[in-house]
Structures are given as C-alpha cells and as structure tokens.
Assembly symmetry: C2
C-alpha cells in the first residue's frame, strides 16, 4: 500500500494555503480579514486554495495572544430543569447572532462543583460569564476578580451582586401568590419544596411570611432531591396525612404542582373546590392544561436574553448601567385556586 501521501492528516493551516499559492501566510491572513488588501489575481488564487484545502480558521492563536475567545461561559445548576432550558434558549438567542459561542456547564447545585466548573470555563479564556445562584465561595469570587471578565448573575435580584445581577424577587413572588390564595379563602396552605437551593429558600421565606402575616400557620414539606411529577404526588399524600384539612398547595415549581394536581384528579379530590393548587414559573404546559394551573409566571427566557445583552454591551466597553435588574413576575390565578 502507499502510506506516503496520507499520514499528514492534520487540518490545514494558513501556511499550507500559503504554500499552495506561493506566498507567505501573512498574505493569506490579510486576505481573510480584508480581501482587498491583496492584489486581484492573488485574491482568486488564495480563495481557490482555501476552498481546495478546506481551510477552517483556528481560534487558538488568537485566544493565546489576545486572550479573546469569542466564547461566553454559561454555568447553571442543572440542565434537568425546564427553567434552565429556557434560560439557555434566551442566552443563545442573543449570543449566537452576535457571533459568540456558548460554553455550557452545570454544577448540580454543588458549591465545589461550581468552583471547578468556573475554573474550567476560565481556562478556555471565555470573554464573559453568566452564572446563577447568588451565593458564591470566596475562591469563586477571587477567580472571577482575577479573571477580569464581565460576570452576570441570573435568577435572583435580591442578593448583592458580584458585578451585575438580573433576576426576580423570589421571596416577593412567593409572598404574592400565597397572599392571593389566602385572600381567596384558603387557610391551611402547604408549601411543597424541592432541591432546597437559594431560590427555593427565598420562596419558602416569602410563603411563611405571608402565612404568619395573616395569622396562619405555615407547613412546608421539603426534599433535597429534584422536583418531579411523582414527587408532587408523594407530597400530596404526605400533606393530607400531616394535615387532613389542607385546602391549598403552593409548589416551588410547576412540576410538583402538576404532579399534585393529577394525583388529586385520580383520587377524586376536586380542584379548586376541595384543594387549591398553585405552581411556580408558568411553563407552557401550565398555560394549556385543564384546569389551567395557577402559577407565578417568571420571565425565564428574558432573564437569559437580558443577561446576554448586558454582557455583550459590557464586552463592547460600556459600563454597568444598573447593578441589579429586577424583572417583574406575574401572578396567574388560572383555574386551580
């Protein structure tokens, strides 16, 4: 066999193109960035050579010499949650048309994992970071400070931001929904909480404050595992066991609420006559189902979109105009409370 020609299977470089044309790689480099800076005959020859070899630009040298990767790191707690899928969608809808690449990472709600993921993203010289959660370790804060790139925190608008935060006031949202249920006559409202992350803790506080403000006794069922329809059904059973006259359920997200709602339907519990159910986030399904789920509608995609827009603005050298952007939420009473 001929094992001569083959072997050199590495992708073509500017030098390969230059050799084919008979010029230096500098000329090819110039052609790629400003075609007219090269003479007309060369333009054609270089263009043909690029096509022949299938040349693809290489960002590595640029990342090395200019520390600019044109990539943005996105660090979220989870990919399992629909909320974050929508955030990613919002982010990508801005970054991609702007020519930025998204580097996605997740840390499963673990602080140690967050540290290592941020280090990893920084090791790729990302030009900016979008991260979530409002609490960060000192090590994370130091890494971000040293990296000297713009960082935007999303999801929560209450905690003081590292630089800039875009989110909602989860506590106020939970308070509002709880109060709404109380005003509609519910007294024995149970809160279903999962994951127990920062945002969930804020929501619980909002719920508990609303309950005690109205002279009612809060009852919160908690799990550290992820939320799911099944978990919502399980929580329903437990709630009825602990508090048989439960007349309202407020869930940390739509999954739990829908799980609880279907479980009620299966056991002949009428919604909302017997028990009122409310969720959190307002996913598409809750806007379509029968009965319509009462929920707190949150601007998840907007959060991603705005975060990306502000990040790009800062990459263009603009200063931070607003350290905290508090996005509005909306209470939708649907048909389930």
């Amino acid at each position: 066999m001929d094992m001569a020609i083959k072997m050199k299977n590495k992708r073509p470089t500017l030098q390969d193109v230059a050799d084919l044309v008979g010029v230096t790689k500098m000329t090819v480099s110039r052609y790629l960035r400003t075609p007219d800076s090269v003479s007309a005959p060369l333009q054609e020859k270089i263009s043909a050579a690029l096509e022949t070899l299938g040349y693809i630009p290489n960002r590595a040298p640029d990342i090395l010499s200019k520390s600019k990767s044109h990539a943005i790191g996105v660090l979220l707690p989870s990919l399992t949650n629909q909320v974050f899928s929508e955030v990613i969608r919002g982010i990508e809808s801005v970054l991609e048309p702007a020519g930025y690449q998204t580097m996605l990472a997740h840390y499963g709600y673990s602080k140690e994992a967050e540290e290592s993921r941020i280090a990893t993203l920084l090791s790729y010289s990302v030009d900016g970071l979008i991260i979530s959660e409002s609490y960060h370790t000192d090590r994370v804060r130091k890494m971000l400070a040293v990296a000297g790139i713009p960082v935007i925190e999303i999801m929560d608008s209450v905690s003081p931001p590292i630089e800039q935060a875009i989110g909602i006031d989860n506590q106020a949202a939970a308070y509002a929904m709880t109060e709404c249920m109380i005003k509609r006559g519910r007294q024995k409202i149970v809160y279903f909480a999962a994951r127990m992350d920062q945002r969930t803790l804020f929501k619980i506080r909002g719920y508990e404050t609303a309950m005690t403000d109205h002279g009612l006794t809060p009852l919160c069922l908690k799990t550290h595992s992820a939320s799911s329809f099944t978990m919502g059904a399980n929580f329903l059973k437990e709630a009825l066991a602990q508090q048989p006259d439960t007349d309202g359920i407020f869930c940390t997200n739509d999954d739990l609420a829908i799980g609880a709602l279907y479980a009620c339907q299966k056991s002949g519990i009428r919604i909302p006559e017997d028990i009122a159910i409310a969720g959190f986030h307002g996913h598409d399904i809750s806007r379509a189902m029968v009965p319509l789920l009462a929920t707190v509608i949150t601007p998840r995609e907007d959060m991603g979109r705005l975060a990306a827009e502000h990040l790009l603005s800062r990459l263009q050298g603009n200063p931070i105009t607003q350290a905290v952007i508090d996005l509005p939420f909306k209470i939708d009473i649907g048909e389930s409370i």
Copy 2:
C-alpha cells in the same frame, strides 16, 4: 491617584507564579502536573504563590500546540424543543465527569446555519462532534473529513452515517403506533406534523404506509413552524373541519398531542371514546397526565449518553464497533387510544 500598581490587570501566567517563587515557569509547570517532581520546599512555595495570585491554567497553548481542546461540540437543530434538552442532559452526564467541556450550538433547522456552526465549532479545535439530522451538505461533509475528528450523528438510525450514528427508526416507530391505533378500531386517523424536518418526514412516511397497508386513507396536516400546545389545538379544529368523522389523531410529538387533547376536553370531545390521541416521545408530562397520553417512548437521554460514550471511546483510540446503533422505542398505549 496611584495608577502605578494597577493597570496590569491581565490574568496571571505561569511566569508570574515563577517570578514570585524565584524559579522558571518550567518548574511551576512540572509542579502542576506532578507535584512530587519538585523538591519539597519548592512545592510549598509554589503552592502558596499559585494561591496568592489565583492562577488558573490556560488551555490555549495546549490547544495551539497539541490541537486538543478537551471540548466536544454539540450541534442540535433547536434548543426550544424539550427533546433536545434531554439529549443535552444525556451528553453532559457523560462528558462532564470525563473532564470534557461541552460547546453547544444550534442551527434552527437551516442547512446554511449548520455549515457555519460546524465551522465555528471546528475553529475552537473541538476534539469531537455530536451532530443531528441525517442529511448534510457536501461542504459540511468536507469540513468534517478535513477536520479529522470523530463525529457522531444522533436521532436517526436509518440513513447511512458519515461515520457513526445513534438513533431510532422513526418511520418504524410511526408505523407501529399507527398500526396500533388501527388495530384498536380507528379508521380515520389524522397525522399532525410540524417543523417538517428529516425525522418528521420519516414519521409521516411510517404513518402513511401503515394507513395504506390497511386500506385506509391518510390525511396529514402540516406546518413548517414549531410545534406547540396552541398548534395542537389549531390542528384539531382543522382536522374536524376537513374530516368531521375523524376518530384518531397521531401527532409528531407530545406537545401537539397534549394541545389537541386539552382542546378536546374543552369542547367536550371524549378521549378516547370519540377520538383517540397519540403523541411521540413520551415526555414526563405525558407519563403523569390524566388521561395518560398514548405515545411512542423514545430514548432521548440515552441517545445523548451513548453518543457521548462512543465519542469518548473513539477519542481513546478505539475503533468504531458499530456504525449504526438502532435504539429501541416503545409504544405506550396510555389511556388516550
């Protein structure tokens, strides 16, 4: 003000660490990779200096000299679709523990966009690619060939793969579900199709073949826009207008099916007595709702997981063991047919 010390705000390099300790960067480099290759006193001093400066490794030189980024490019048609969120989850569940970074991109079902996204991913020297759809332009095929990195296609197991494909037989799946509905007595089944991508076309073919095989007349409602609950409701209206005695609906995905199902509930159409409804994919919601949605359960997360596993295996130098991996689907008749 003192503008002396500040200014040099770029992130610390190995040289900075070395200067602080009083050695060459080579020594620090060695310490980072094999701490014991450096004398004990130096180990401590270097460790302290790294901490003081907040040094973060830089992958750029490695990418440049070894063309190894430890990043995997993932190109999907859309991020809007829950199917792909779950695929991403599967991919990340393997890549992240293996120390690989995910570079995510999407192309909105456009072939031109696919070309440019692949070029972008390659420009970052990704070590491997996971892409979707089975049809690719010549330019894409050439880029992939020149890049010389392992490529895995997911979602479809029928078309001949570039190198390796992992997916399901969409046509067979649609055929199976259609036949199942027919065997349960349905005659006037309408197909709801959206997006009209490769996979949808396969499904339509499966549905139509099953119908004609059983002497029935297929009727397919189509839209090029994305599927949604609303679209499912609209399709229902149109189906009843075009074929008032419609007794079955088979949808290209669960969203359309659920939208149609809820629309039926609202108009007093009984499911499945009056109309049988089936979806495709078996998302969590369809496994929890009342009535349980009949659906084709597809191994979305498995697809991602397997794709990532096979990719890693090939990055470790193993050959392709199976060019096409056809994953099983499952018909779940639920309570809606």
